[in-house]
Amino acid sequence: MKQKLKNTNLLSTVLSIVIAVLLGCLLILLVSDEPFLAIKSLLVLPLSNAFYMNNIIDKVTPLILVGLSASVAFKTGIFNMGVQGQFYIGAFVAAIAGNYLIGLPTGLHIAAVFLTAVGGGVLYATAAGALKAYFNINEVVTTLMLNYIATLVTSGMTNSYFRDPDSGGVIRMHYIPEYLELKEISTKVTAHSGFLIALVMVGFVYFLMKHSVLGYRMETVGKNRVFAQYGGLNIKRITLICFAISGGLSGLAGSVEVLGMHRSFFDNFASGMGGDGLIIALLASNHPLGVLLISFFFAYLKVGGQIMQQNTDVSRELVLIIQVIMIMLISSRMLTPYLNKRKFAKEVKKSG
């Protein structure tokens, strides 16, 4: 029975995506003078050549990581809205460590950059976690507030102390040394190797949630806190660990973006990242493989939107509209009851 319901869930997600895309196309037809070129640019061109495809992979990397970050928290029943802030802290720390720990041996330096960046995300998230675990302060409020602090502090620092004087009109730090950069995966797949890190993390989260003792505990806390507490689980500790893992993944996402894509910390360079992470987790029902798939879809739409904007009179914000329709359809579970009903009507008929 559980299996069957899962399938209709999956089906409703897919259907929601299809409906959202169709509605997006309808909108293009209404507003554009060259609708067919626009639709082609949005949906077909991203898969038409290697350059665009690599572009998709570059874009999918941070999305997977922030999506995993949010899904781990959601699964534990914790609404970590602070993915954005933890992402910025990770990125900022990575750029600082990359620029100012010069002199370390290369291997050590790489390790130090990752460790400090992930550590930054962990600490930043755990601050909210501690407030929740020990003082029962709602994490939605604290993490959202901490987002502002992270965004503004990193921005302030980048504008003042850490700004590269040669950056011209762009507000950013120095570029990190070349040996720290995440290289291209191969000569053919020119996307940066952060993608591989993201894939490893999908595997890690999958193992964590499906096969580990900790994962069982986290899920139980998420499904029924009172039951978990009565069963003798240490909720405070599990809450803290969950925040740490979630924040660590966000921090890692930030560092991967800096090391692989931007090679420096730019002021407010990824303002939608946290929101994307939360939405991806939501659409994926917090399943790590779902996160992978939905992230790819988001990246594909982002690239498609860019191409469409270059080629036609439709702006790439249309992609946002499609995303919003998807969210409404899926989060309201508008299609699930309908699909269930049809399914069982069929089964009842079959069984007479």
Binding site: M1, K2, K4, L5, H211, S212, V213, L214, G215, Y216, R217, E219, T220, K223, N224, V226, F227, A228, Q229, Y230, G231, G232, L233, N234, P337, N340, K341, F344, E347, V348
Partner: protein, 515 residues
């Protein structure tokens, strides 16, 4: 149409299949005559509540026809049902705790004076109904201060206030003491005399015999038979309900051991608001002994338990288990001891409805060596053990992967009992272990508790069900307002009435008066 105008409710060939595939009703026929008390009985999961929810417009029927006073109806919402003169008192009360009694009763059907509520007219009507049927209530009291029995009277008043002529009561006596039940039945008789029609959902045979005129038995979603109460016997109804004869109760072996396993010593517990809920309580339980605490709910039972299991810190006093002082122990440590604990709140504390049976089984044991290989949880082993438990405890489910939330109350309770008893406890704490559970499961759970006792476990049984307390306990403690007002050996001289007086009044030598 109008074939038999005497039938105020007529449901023909009803089917209800839930979207998740559960078949709740498959071909139920149900007729109620005007002015009678009609008992609808059946085990949990037999489809009683579903049938009534369909009738009341809370659920949509899959197939079938419903006639009210001979007219075919198809209620889409409770509002339509109420408009046609029906009312339902649910198992869980649906009252706003911070509102006064009067506000609760009027809610949704306020009398208006221009744009204002005419509270005076409302109250006049309420008082009239209250007097007419002996349903006493203090209309200005906020509902959260009321006892369970009083809350139920408010629910009934509300239904009457809404001009219902047909009243459905879903397991109304599950939470009442014998005296309160008797009062309720008096009111019901008055209503019937006045032309009201009452459908009483229950699984207590005694009540069926006491009060009903007719009885319809459901089993597995089907009507088994409709009988005149005067022409049947309790045994007949029971065997119709469960489809077989009850097994005799397990033999009780008198315990010889003198070893005290569990002791509570001058315990005082405050609830989270700082009110003293357990007052200077002392008792001890020996090996192979069942200590039953009888009491109306809300007299300190939950605070006592919370203090024992480490949810609340006691204000003073000590708790000893196996010679160790475990006062103020954390819940995690408490659960590591070989103590079984069956909580009263089955759906929140006792189980996780949106997780599988297997996941529910291992809440205490998942960190043990059996299932644990480093950070790796051996799900294969977990599932194997779960299948064994499902078989051993006769739990009805498709597989160990089925969600607990998809199972009937009795089966959920069996999952909890199986988990706690498989810890091989030397102390078993059972709170309301059979509340809202069907007869077969009650029989099963009772036998399991006695089996544990016979094996030498000490058992602390807390229940509002006097027959349960009297049927199982070796000693009975009577709880009133946080105090154990009396502790008595459970021998032949104890009567339900005596216990009832203690737990309602705190003493023996007085007639029962309303609080």
């Amino acid at each position: 149409m109008g074939a038999d105008n005497q039938n105020v409710i007529e449901m023909k060939d009803m089917y209800k299949i839930y979207p998740n595939g559960t078949v709740a009703n498959s071909g139920v026929n149900f007729c109620v005559k005007r002015g009678e008390i009609h008992a609808l009985v059946g085990e949990n999961g037999a489809g009683k509540t579903t049938l009534m929810k369909v009738l009341f417009g809370l659920e949509e029927k899959t197939k079938g026809a419903v006639y009210i006073s001979g007219k075919e109806v198809n209620f889409k919402s409770p509002r339509e049902a109420i408009a046609s003169g029906m009312g339902m008192v649910h198992q869980e009360f649906m009252l706003v705790p911070s509102y006064t009694v009067a506000q609760n009763i009027a809610l949704g059907n306020e009398k208006k004076k221009r744009i204002f509520c005419d509270r005076k007219a409302e109250k006049e009507q309420m008082e009239k109904i209250s007097k007419q049927f002996g349903l006493t209530a203090d209309f200005d009291e906020p509902v959260y201060r009321l006892s369970v029995g009083a809350k139920q009277r408010i629910e009934i008043l509300k239904v009457l206030y809404n001009n219902a002529k047909i009243i459905i009561l879903d397991e109304p006596t599950a939470v009442l003491t014998p005296q309160e039940t008797e009062e309720l039945f008096c009111s019901l008789r008055l209503m019937v005399k006045d032309g009201y029609t009452i459908v009483l959902i229950t699984h207590k045979i005694k009540e069926v015999m006491d009060i009903s005129d007719s009885v319809t038995v459901l089993r597995n979603g089907q009507t088994i038979q409709t009988l005149k109460t005067s022409e049947t016997t309790p045994d007949e109804i029971t065997s119709l309900m469960i489809g077989r004869q009850l097994k005799p109760k397990r033999e009780r072996i008198k315990s010889q051991s003198e070893k005290t396993v569990f002791q509570v010593d001058h315990l005082n517990v405050m609830d989270r608001r700082g009110a003293l809920k357990v007052k200077d309580m002392s008792f001890s339980i020996k090996q192979g002994e069942i200590f039953g605490i009888a009491g109306v709910e809300g007299n300190g039972q939950s605070e006592l338990i919370d203090a024992i299991i480490g949810f609340l810190k006691p204000a003073s006093g000590r708790v000893f288990y196996d010679g160790k002082d475990i006062t103020g122990i954390s819940t995690s440590e408490f659960r590591k001891e070989p103590i079984g604990y069956i909580p009263d709140d089955r759906n929140l504390r006792g189980s996780s409805l949106s997780q599988s049976v297997a996941e529910n089984f291992i809440i205490c044991s998942h960190s043990g060596k059996e299932f644990n290989k480093g950070p790796y949880l051996d799900w294969k082993e977990v599932r194997k053990k779960s299948r064994d438990l499902i078989e051993e405890y006769e739990i009805k489910t498709d597989s160990e992967r089925a969600l607990v939330g998809s199972m009937s109350g009795g089966n959920v309770q069996k999952v909890i009992v199986a988990r706690e008893i498989s810890k091989k406890p030397d102390l078993l704490i059972a709170c309301q272990p059979t509340r809202g559970v069907d007869i077969s499961s009650i029989e099963y759970i009772h036998n399991k508790i006695i089996e544990q006792r016979n094996k030498g476990a000490a058992v602390l049984l807390i229940s509002a069900e006097l027959t349960e307390i009297m049927g199982l306990s070796d000693k009975i403690g009577m709880l009133y307002n946080g105090e154990l007002v009396a502790i008595r050996e459970n021998d032949d001289t104890v009567t339900e009435k005596e216990i009832g007086k203690y737990i309602l009044n705190g003493r023996q030598d007085q007639d029962v008066t309303e609080e």
